[in-house]
């Protein structure tokens, strides 16, 4: 298993801006191929969404993708098991909601991620305090899973320090007040978030939520170590795009970040 954080730090130290696309697990038979295409076209890690019935941090596109994957029979177990077949040389992280983790059990969940070669977990409805109280942080650590934490524009400076210290893998800076989904322009809050994170931590700091185009990705990456791009990619998959379209879009993002 590749360490998410070590890998991102290494890439960053080469002067590279980091690119982490998001793909809904179980969305179509070829979703594994989509992840491979992301890796082959310049992603530095891939986030795999485990679909949940009630994704409150997600906008319409990822809601629809989640529902479609569920309708196709995706379960946490099937997505994690299928991910074992993803033979790429970049780390993978799952992004899902805490109820699925709680139901499977902290240890079983973390162990099954490790068993499939997945390095990280992102749980947007498990904030720092509940992460510690419930003990998922120690279960994850036991199995070598890196728990990414989110920081938001409303997070206070003091809390930001705590979040950056407790996060593993990278710190996910939410670029705007809102849920996932495409926006016409990069929010002003992205710049502030990026600068705050960079002033707080040496851990890789990525901006995500609402970053929709190559130009926006490039701009956002100017304020932080890189970006997470979700809805814009998933929309292409919903509109019957497959690995080729995903690969082309990731290549376009990569080119913009490298330019």
């Amino acid at each position: 298993m590749i360490s998410l954080e070590a890998h991102l730090r290494a890439r960053r130290s080469q002067g590279r801006k980091l690119l982490v696309p998001y793909v809904t697990g179980g969305l179509g038979k070829d979703w594994i191929e989509v992840v491979r295409a992301c890796a082959a076209n310049g992603a530095d890690a891939v986030e795999i969404g485990i679909p949940f019935s009630d994704p409150i941090m997600d906008g319409k596109v990822i809601q629809e993708a989640s529902q479609r994957a569920l309708d196709l029979g995706a379960t946490p177990e099937s997505v994690i098991a299928q991910a074992a077949a993803i033979d790429v040389d970049i780390p993978l992280a799952v992004m899902t909601y805490y109820n699925l983790v709680y139901r499977m059990g902290h240890n079983r969940f973390a162990a099954s991620l490790a068993g499939s070669g997945i390095s990280g977990a992102i749980l947007p409805d498990l904030p720092l305090d509940e992460l510690r109280r419930g003990g998922f942080d120690s279960a994850a650590e036991l199995h070598g899973i890196e728990t990414v934490l989110l920081a938001s524009p409303t997070t206070t400076d003091a809390r930001m320090v705590e979040i950056c210290e407790a996060a593993r893998g990278f710190v996910y800076g939410v670029s705007l007040m809102g849920v996932t989904g495409e926006r016409v322009a990069l929010a002003d809050s992205a710049k502030i978030m990026g600068e705050r994170l960079k002033a707080t931590t040496d851990r890789p700091a990525l901006l995500g939520v609402g970053i929709s185009t190559a130009a926006q990705a490039r701009e956002a990456a100017g304020y932080a170590d890189g970006v997470v791009v979700g809805s814009a990619l998933v929309r292409k998959l919903l509109q019957s795009g497959g690995p080729d379209e995903a690969g082309a879009f990731v290549a376009e993002l990569r080119a913009a970040l490298d330019s």
Binding site: P76, N99, D125, M177, V179
Partner: protein
């Protein structure tokens, strides 16, 4: 006798117990939300705690409850229903409040808090539309902007309330995701709150969601139980009812009612009645305590209807207000402790309860509390022994359900 001074008509009892610092009722509760909401929930908790111990705030609140909402509501002794059931039945008449349900008690408290926090807009979810109407009403009264999220299915079956909300100046957003009912309306309200939390208060309608909502909403509803206890003692020569019964959607009318008895009257049996839908075996119901398992949804750890993987199941009930696959965390804890019992009534039993109360007492209940009446009618002389004294919270009136029942019952 002098007329009472402003605000004196409603006497609030002292604040009730708080959950733990991390928002727990035993195992349940907590604050499982996106990071963006954490500061707002901390601010809300602090504002509520301060306000709730501030005499000026309490006077504003009790004055509104009295002069605007029409409190105190009476407890009515139901002679003909009692005779029919072989029990002594008392009804707490939340149907007689302004806007027609207990939801107004909570909303007036939260609207006052919204103003205190300097916010200009409220959002709300609604199932039956009663909470949406109450929120739109308070928003009109306080001059706040108001957006209400309502499942598209509920928009259909509660058309009257949709119209009322619009009349009151609220924007009503139909929610089409998932089952297009209350659960999905909560999802969309939370998503909107994540975007607008700096200027907007989320006026949650039941004892659910992340801390401090379950505690705060219980406290704003406890007036129902505190009044009931005193009114029952007046009617029953100082005695308490043996049973206290209320219907359970998220659980606010029940929790408000129970709060008046749970610590004061350890011998009173508390009973929550869930939506039995087409029967618990059918899979089409909303009985989260009876059939749910622990999970984390909508910001709280509680009991939810869910599949083996933790995907939340769609609830089903004839009544939009009980059509929710979860329950507030304090109920989950009362159930675990055995301090309250959770039963259910099916759609058919609720409809029978609706008709029974209309025929025997001239009171047309909302479909939600019709579950409590229907359950009582089934259990009278069985698990509720003949001659028992029972208080039932009549959480709302049935106008909103008339069209739906006209269709179901046809020519009478």
């Amino acid at each position: 006798m002098n007329a009472p001074a402003r605000g004196e008509t409603v006497q609030l009892d002292p604040p009730g117990p708080e959950p733990t610092a991390d928002g727990r009722f035993g195992d349940f509760g907590g604050r499982f939300v996106p990071e963006s909401l954490i500061p707002a929930l901390e601010e809300l908790e602090e504002s509520f705690r301060t306000a709730w111990h501030d005499d000026a705030f309490r006077l504003q609140y009790s004055t509104l409850l009295g002069e605007y909402a029409g409190r105190p509501t009476p407890v009515t002794e139901c002679h003909r229903l009692s005779e029919r059931l072989g029990l002594r039945v008392l009804l707490k008449r939340e149907d007689l409040t302004h806007t027609g349900s207990h939801k107004i008690n909570n909303v007036l408290g939260q609207a006052l808090l919204t103003r205190r926090m300097g916010k200009q807009r409220v959002i709300a979810e609604t199932g039956a539309g009663q909470h949406g109407v109450a929120t739109a009403t308070a928003a009109a009264l306080f001059g706040l902007d108001c957006t209400v999220y309502m499942g598209a299915v509920d928009v259909e079956r509660q058309a009257l309330n949709v119209w009322r909300m619009k009349l009151l100046g609220a924007e009503v957003v139909p929610v089409t995701s998932g089952s297009a009912t209350l659960k999905d309306a909560v999802n969309d309200a939370m998503r909107e709150w994540v975007a607008s939390v700096e200027s907007t208060h989320y006026c949650l309608g039941s004892v659910m969601g992340p801390h401090p909502f379950p505690w705060m909403v219980r406290e704003f509803q406890r007036v129902v139980g505190d009044e009931s206890r005193k009114q029952c003692r007046a009617i029953l020569d100082g005695a308490d009812p043996q049973y206290v019964v209320a219907c359970i959607g998220g659980g606010s009318n029940a929790m408000g009612t129970f709060a008046g008895f749970v610590d004061h009257c350890p011998d009173v049996q508390l009973i929550g009645v869930e939506a039995g839908g087409l029967g618990l075996e059918s899979g089409h119901h909303g009985a989260a305590v009876n059939r749910g398992v622990p999970g984390i949804v909508h910001g709280m750890k509680s009991l939810f209807l869910q599949d083996e993987f933790g995907q939340v199941l769609e609830a089903a009930s004839i009544s939009a207000g009980l059509d929710y696959p979860g329950v507030g965390p304090e109920h989950a804890q009362l159930a675990k402790l055995g301090r309250a019992r959770y039963e259910y009534a099916t759609d058919d039993e609720a409809v029978a309860g609706f008709q029974l109360l209309a025929e025997t007492e001239g009171i047309v209940p909302a479909l939600e509390p019709s579950h409590a009446i229907g359950w009582l009618a089934r259990e009278a002389g069985r698990s509720i022994p003949a001659g028992s004294t029972v208080l039932v919270t009549l959480s709302g009136r049935g106008d909103k359900d008339a069209a739906q029942l006209m269709e179901r019952l046809g020519e009478l």
